[in-house]
């Protein structure tokens, strides 16, 4: 018998997630190739990678990926603000709760009950949101400064460049931590939800009991089935 499932991420949320993931990956790669790496380290000699040494190609791809990322981020913000969905915003006590979650992984204590997102996920979101804010704002300034009519002071541009470069490494670290989280078995049931949107109901009840309870209350209030059964 198929397991009962529960909707965790809508189609739009998944689209935004994967648009951000793919554009960010593209931006990191093409951003790295804004440095004179390809020719020096013979990367452009590898099959299919001759374009990496062509700054005019890499900068154009960087711009296109930036447009996708900016669009996805703007959808994310506008959509959830209008719907008043703030599940991922960190709450008071999240640091302590994250510590408890980590301790529980080693069997040192019981895992605290969680809402739709774990405390550590909310903290990770804040870190990533801040990093993306830095890179997007500085990136937009960098695009504007390239227009012929624009002129900014060297000091300002130097700050913008350095913050953009620093934020790149902050994001790379964040993505690394995000992926490492899936090395932990307890997080595995969350993986399919990023593709199908659905998560096992039993898992949700066990680990995200506050969220399940809220959903159940919402279901009673609106007489609307929240669970998708038997997928």
């Amino acid at each position: 018998m198929a397991k009962e499932k529960m909707l965790r991420h809508s189609g739009l949320v998944r689209l935004v997630h994967w648009s951000i993931a793919l554009s960010t990956f593209t931006l990191i790669i093409t951003g790295m190739f804004q440095l004179p790496l390809a020719k020096r380290y013979f990367i452009d000699q590898l099959p299919g990678l001759s374009w990496t040494a062509d700054y005019s190609s890499t900068v154009l791809i960087h711009y296109i990926a930036a447009a996708v990322l900016l669009s996805a981020v703007s959808v994310h913000i506008v959509y959830h603000v209008i719907r008043k969905e703030y599940n991922l915003i960190p709450k008071k006590g999240d640091l302590k709760e994250s510590y408890q979650i980590i301790k529980s992984m080693f069997g040192l204590c019981e895992e605290p009950k969680s809402d739709k997102y774990l405390a550590e996920q909310r903290l990770a979101y804040a870190y990533m949101a801040f990093s993306f804010l830095l890179i997007l704002v500085t990136g937009v300034v960098k695009v504007i400064k390239n227009f012929p009519a624009m002129h900014f002071s060297a000091t300002f541009i130097s700050w913008v460049t350095n913050i953009h470069n620093l934020a790149t490494f902050m994001i790379i670290f964040g993505i690394f931590a995000h992926l490492v989280a899936f090395a932990i078995k307890a997080n595995w049931p969350l993986l399919p939800s990023m593709f199908t949107g659905m998560v096992d109901l039993e898992y949700a009840k066990h680990r995200h009991s506050i969220w399940c309870m809220k959903s159940a209350v919402g279901k009673e209030k609106k007489h609307q089935p929240k669970y998708s059964i038997g997928r």
């Binding site: 739009l12 804004q34 440095l35 004179p36 020096r40 380290y41 013979f42 700054y55 005019s56 900068v59 154009l60 711009y63 296109i64 930036a66 447009a67 996708v68 900016l70 669009s71 996805a72 981020v73 703007s74 959808v75 994310h76 913000i77 506008v78 959509y79 959830h80 209008i82 719907r83 937009v140 695009v143 504007i144 400064k145 390239n146 227009f147 012929p148 002129h151 060297a154 541009i157 130097s158 913008v160 460049t161 350095n162 470069n165 609106k222 609307q224």
Partner: protein, 344 residues
Amino acid sequence: MGKLHKIKGVGKVSNISRRSFIKRTVAAGAASGIILSGANKIAGASESGSDKVGTLIDLTKCDGCKGQKVPACVSACKSKNESRFPEPVENIQNYWPQKKHENWSDKRDLTKRLTPYNWTFVQNVKVDGKEISVPRRCMHCDNPPCVNLCPFSAMEQTSEGTTQVNPNVCFGGAKCRDVCPWEIPARQAGVGLYLKVAPKLAGGGVMYKCDLCYDRIKIGQNPACVEACPKGAISYGAKSELKKAAYEKAKEINGYVYGDKENGGTATFYVSPVSFETIHEELEKQKASQPNPEAPGFPTMPVQVGNFLDSANGMASALLLAPVATAFAAGITAYKTMKGKEEE
């Protein structure tokens, strides 16, 4: 010659604002430079309301200092900037995994090309029976790709419109040279910040090029090459006035202007009695006969060459508008789903 270029009122700098000082400097420089070059009807730069500076190089006057071993502008540039020339470490490492590095420190006397020790030089071509000498160095572009695309912002465009390298920040990746239509900046290995990081693995030295003697123009003096030219072939002053003068001179001699349309506009205007297409062709031939034709440092003169950022800037508006459009669509979607919920 030098005295004629001297600007009155330099001693009063402390009593005037920087902006007005530069305006006066530019006005004086333009007037003196253009008077020397033979052009007339030059209005003061202050009238144009612009602080941007530029140079006019009159190829009807420049003869490459015939008879002299080194042209006067080249000698003046070298002696003025000598204290800024690189002093690399003794054992310069290769740019791993490449088996080479750029070292000009043992060729400091080269004056027939651009090197880290020679920031201007004169090219000589023979076109339609006419001998043309072309002083070459950084054009100081209006929208310089070298400045815009440096990954560490080690290059700067000053408010006067000149461009310069910050040798303390430059890592020597030479991207500025790759995106310059004339491949002007020259690299010296074994010097600069990269030595303090991972000299074998990353970085390549420091880039060097003309900064239009920024320290001199800031105190009201002309660039060294302008001062030194015995023919008054190089004029320095307000860019707008020099541009006007360049076109007037070109009209007068039925000649051509180079530098106004190239790379989206520059602060250097060449006036020539022969077309720059033909000069470019000759220079290409000379470049091909260089010991290493692929090597930068011997710029040609491609007419109306585009700016490296033209395509990127062309789509930048779309880049900035895309999130606005998608945010609008997201707003409608969010509103519809909420409305749907309420109705249910």
